[in-house]
Amino acid sequence: MNENAKVIKGRTGDWEMVLGLEVHAQVASKSKLFSGAAVGFGAGPNEQVSLVDAAMPGMLPVLNRFCVEQAVKTGLGLRAQINLKSRFDRKNYFYPDLPQGYQISQFDQPIVGEGVVSVERDDGTTFDVRIERLHLEQDAGKSLHDQDPNATYVDLNRAGTALMEIVSKPDMRTSEEAAAYVKKLRTILVYLGTCDGDMEKGNLRADVNVSVCRPGDYEKFRATGDFKHLGTRCEIKNVNSYRYIQQAIEYEARRQIEILEDGGKVDQETRLFDPTKGETRSMRSKEEAHDYRYFPDPDLLPLVLDPAWVKSIEETLPELPDAKKARLQSQYGLSAYDAGVLIIDADRADYFEAAAKGRDAKLVANWVTNELLAKLSAAGTEFSNSPLPHTDIGQLVELIENGTISSKIAKEVFEHMWAGEGRPAEIVEKRGLVQINDTGAIEKAIDDLIAGNPDKAEAVKDKPQALGWFVGQVMKATGGKANPGTVNELLRKKLGVE
């Protein structure tokens, strides 16, 4: 049995869930996939609509080169097969926000074939999700149902926007894995710059395919590739947050198990997640099964890519999260955990690398992933907008490294830095936080302490663990500025502790 599959206890025995995702990622282009209308958020109704998007008679599609490039780039980032010949097909159905009466998509010859994404679980372990394909397609418009009780308002601004549909194999076994996969995919897309990853605006959204099976069935499926070993799946459309993805999956798996345990049969259908109720419900259930009548779009010719162009795109690929993580570990000696935190976005890793130049990298990583990250998160901002430049963190660590301040003082300095009081060195100077390395001053403090506490000074010879009390007292007496190393060393000598 796959130990990563979470067993769900049922009345009739154990169950497992099997999850596959279709992620729709909006291409970060200026204009639409097949028309020169602008892509953007917040424009007035139908302001970003061309005659092509509105499917006026005689209008024809012309493909956006940039969108093709982004699809190729993404495919390369997913370590996937780039298909030098692909084709656009029409998917036919009627809906008021689908102006042409068909969506231009790629059916049997997508631009990108099989690939793989390596995903980290929360506990730091990793698993692979196989990518089945990536294809380019048009988004639909937007229907507003709440403007009028008797009518629907249609805004086509979104119609024709380029989407990359990234289809995974059913390789996820828990709702956490599904969310972690989307997170990782999002990270890769944002690294590549092919999608802005803004889930709130719907620029990245997932259709989740959920089915349940008995323990052991999934392994049979993996061994044979035969879907008959898996249960009937339901597709939950357009879920646009990690939390909703998890909630929708948990609800849906439980719903299916209940049906099966009652002796029923799961219907293959499309469902919607209702976040207010935390439930999924059937969509267009009364309609006849769809028959999309896919066929090659006769307005478009086969898309043929020049291998040299693909190569030139490959050469511009940025360092991707997995490679960056491995490099941060090997180059800076960071732990997998720290490296993992740093690569969540490229700005964070860049910030770290800039701050770490010429310093103790592990120390820098600690400051970046703990103190600074906490402050930025609390302020709801990103490393790219950090009020503290990387040179400040660098300088702070430098002050620790050269013994000017202790780590403890550094925390205080950091608070002042965050409050906007200036560069770390200025703060240390202004506030007199410079570490006392002067042996004479420390010796005097120790002598005073021993003189005032002769019994304790005697006792510590048998109980060396009590040394900590002396250290604390000396630090207190020096306002925390004494160099802890020197204090320790002198105390041992004067108290005669080995």
Partner: protein, 95 residues
């Protein structure tokens, strides 16, 4: 592969063309006549034959990612059966 009234009903629904019950049978016969004539295609040996989707031998031309259109919602909705505030107003959609 004879077309019957039920097939016509299904196809007409897919095509969103209202077809009265009494027209289904006559339409089925009419379409059958045409499809029977078409079925002579089965005589043609097409083994190993690549389907011809377009006579244009070139690859798909690509355009640059530049905004050249839009910005005129009134133009887009000028022929609309109904529009309000630049929205198309359509019959109530129940999801």
């Amino acid at each position: 592969m004879a077309i019957d009234a039920a097939t016509v009903r299904k196809v007409a629904r897919l095509a969103r063309i209202a077809t009265p019950e009494e027209r289904l049978e006559p339409l089925a016969q009419e379409l059958n006549g045409i499809m029977t004539w078409i079925e002579q295609l089965a005589e043609v040996d097409t083994d190993g034959c690549e389907p011809l989707t377009s006579v244009v031998a070139a690859g798909l031309p690509l355009r640059e990612d530049v905004v050249t259109m839009g910005g005129d919602p009134a133009r887009v909705t000028s022929n609309a059966p109904k529009s309000i505030n630049n929205f198309f107003v359509v019959p109530k959609v129940v999801e």
